[in-house]
Symmetry: C2
Subunit: 220 residues, 2 copies
């Protein structure tokens, strides 16, 4: 596969199951930005190839390239979402007032810094298959409990009031990973309720791992 040639559409380098790529897919779909997906297979370590590292220097997904751009690609999921929100203000992902923005960003960090990194693939590889379940259970429970506490103060229909915000784009992929690792998500009623609300929305359906071109057929 040739990863480099520019496209007349923005390009998202993505892996169907990566929660970080999923966040950005959600942003693109919600903002109705046409884009081209270029799948990078984390399981075969395509992300560690020299070709991909020329795009993303340390081999992580997602990476984002504007239409007809020679790069450098934008990297790191929340940085890309902030960029999309600054360059495409339609369907804003953050409220207008600084306190509201700080609340939404705190929810984002409670997932992006306090839950996801400790249980990501490269950490679990190091932990080892035999200890993986206990590890994930411990840190997911701690993390989801903290997030639920924050949501007690901020949630309406969605994570922050009644409009979709950046926090919701992180909540859904993290919820999916909770289920994937057999965490009892009913222990977090606000998180669960918001996730159910969001699942009904077309942009959230389009960004789902099972709808991605690189999703194995047996999982669709």
């Amino acid at each position: 596969m040739t990863l480099h040639p520019p496209s007349s559409l923005p390009i998202l380098y993505s892996f169907y199951r990566s929660s970080c790529a999923w966040r950005v897919r959600l942003g693109l779909h919600l903002k109705n930005i046409p884009f081209e997906i270029r799948p990078i297979n984390l399981l075969t370590e395509e992300n560690k190839s020299a070709e991909y590292k020329a795009i993303q220097p340390f081999g992580a997904v997602p990476a984002f390239l504007e239409a007809n751009s020679q790069g450098p690609a934008l990297v790191e999921s929340v940085a890309i979402l902030e960029y999309l929100d600054e360059t495409r203000p339609e369907f804003p992902l953050l409220p207008k007032d600084p306190s509201g923005r700080a609340m939404v960003r705190a929810l984002v960090e409670a997932i992006a810094m306090d839950i996801q990194p400790v249980c990501q693939m490269r950490v679990l590889k190091y932990i080892g298959k035999d200890k993986e379940a206990d590890w994930v259970s411990h840190f997911f429970k701690e993390g989801f409990a903290a997030l639920e506490k924050l949501l007690e103060k901020t949630a309406g229909k969605y994570s922050y009031g009644d409009s979709i915000t950046m926090a919701d784009l992180l909540l859904v992929p993290q919820f999916y990973n909770g289920v994937r690792f057999a965490v009892d998500m009913s222990a977090y009623p606000i998180i669960s309720r918001i996730n159910s609300e969001l699942e009904t929305i077309p942009a959230f359906q389009a960004a789902h791992p099972t709808k991605q071109p690189d999703c194995p057929p047996e999982l669709r």
Copy 2:
């Protein structure tokens, strides 16, 4: 200690050695915002007291309260820095153009999501003292190598060009932790050079752990 009463100054709930509290101290000092420090001792688990959890619902530092505010406090370090930058535009922590902002935020995330969380205190407690050194060495090396790769493209005198940005506020505390855990930081020449530059700046000296009211006298 009574943590609640409002102050005529903004309040930062901080622990001298917490890299996340340190980031916010740096933002406050650089922007020349007078503030009151209220130390929260993570070693005695003061952060898990009901009194502190009324301020920060899951007991993490930092938390930030505006002057004369009854709350809720702002939580999560990068969310607080973004808030300070939006409410106090003097000494901006992000460049003006969206691509530049995305680059700085990518550097921020490369530290805040890819290095710090995997080696924070609550993770190391779970890992256990006997395995701590190997764990930290593995993930710090992986994380600093990735950061160094990004900096090859962005660094000038500082992390992004020749002006101090939010990325620098995260780099310095993370460098300190690298040294604390005996990582050979000379393997990352750009990170090391930028850290040395920043250490000479008064705001960086004022925010240092050894200058904090809760730093044990023997470490000053």
